[in-house]
Symmetry: C2
Subunit: 149 residues, 2 copies
DNA sequence: TTGTATAATGCGAAAGATTATCAATTGCAA
DNA sequence: TTGCAATTGATAATCTTTCGCATTATACAA
């Protein structure tokens, strides 16, 4: 049984900055998240966290993920499939969007300044200020060589 | 107890065209949907359907809504809140998108050809063909008079 | 460092939405 | 009209997420 204390991580620092109590579990979850560049769901986060420190309950993962979202540390995404998925909220670079491969389910991130600007303009013209954009496009890979699959 | 047989409706015709067996319940649900121009969830559809013919179970509403979606008659939407919402799939005019009022939760539809084109271009450039776009923007109404909250 | 108030955790139960099961019923082609 | 496969209603089951509560750990002051 692993009982390792996780090292600090960029997200653990963020956690402290927001004045959140930094428990061992939160440190571990923050570590796992800092180490992820995909879009894990809670079950997957739980798996990764337990691999580091087995003294973690899935309820805590749910709670932590919600707490982090409320504090702007994480963003919740919905790619269909009935479970929420999470990714680190990048304060750095602008919004990014997601292309979902219709066949494999793989998620590919992309950015596009023109799209950012257009969405903002549209919303402004409707008399609103843009708060959040939820955009994911589902696409199917164009076969270069025919007869793919 | 209402036991009225619903009249046919545009969606009921579509149902027949797709070779689906047109039961009384499906006729009623199709009628209710044809009559709706909002984005009801299953619970709400069930309420509306029962008002027309009380011999309907919510299980049938779930089943029918799924069947209609699989046959391109309905589109499932997710506006947050944990329940799926449905709207008639317009084969006529192009895609439309949704602006959700951050304060009231109200859903406002809009279309934008420039946005259609840009999304298509982006996806093409990534080597994919566009299958579906899931886009909703959350916005907050700009106060004309200052001092709002 | 030690003690303490308070907040967080673990575990299992509960909630909420959706799907599956299965006997009884219905639509539809012959 | 008949027969049969598909559909329905009622309810159990499933799946994800949250809650309740006793126990434990954290931050902070002395």
């Amino acid at each position: 049984m692993k009982e390792q204390t996780s090292p600090d991580s960029p997200l653990a620092d963020l956690c402290r900055q927001r004045g959140l109590k930094l428990t061992g579990q939160r440190r571990t979850i923050a570590f796992v998240l800092s180490d992820s560049d995909d879009h894990p769901d809670v079950e997957e986060l739980y798996r990764r966290a337990v691999a580091v420190d087995s003294r973690i309950s899935i309820a805590t993962v749910y709670r932590t993920v919600r707490l982090f979202e409320e504090n702007g540390i994480l963003q919740r995404r919905d790619f269909g499939g009935g479970r929420a998925r999470y990714e680190v909220a990048d304060g750095d670079h602008g919004d990014h969007y997601h292309l979902i491969d219709a066949d494999s389910g793989k998620v590919i991130e992309f950015e596009n300044a023109e799209l950012d600007a257009l969405l903002d303009t549209i919303v402004q013209q409707m008399g609103y200020g843009l708060v959040t954009t939820r955009l994911s496009v589902v696409g199917r890979k164009k076969a270069k060589t025919r007869g793919g699959n």
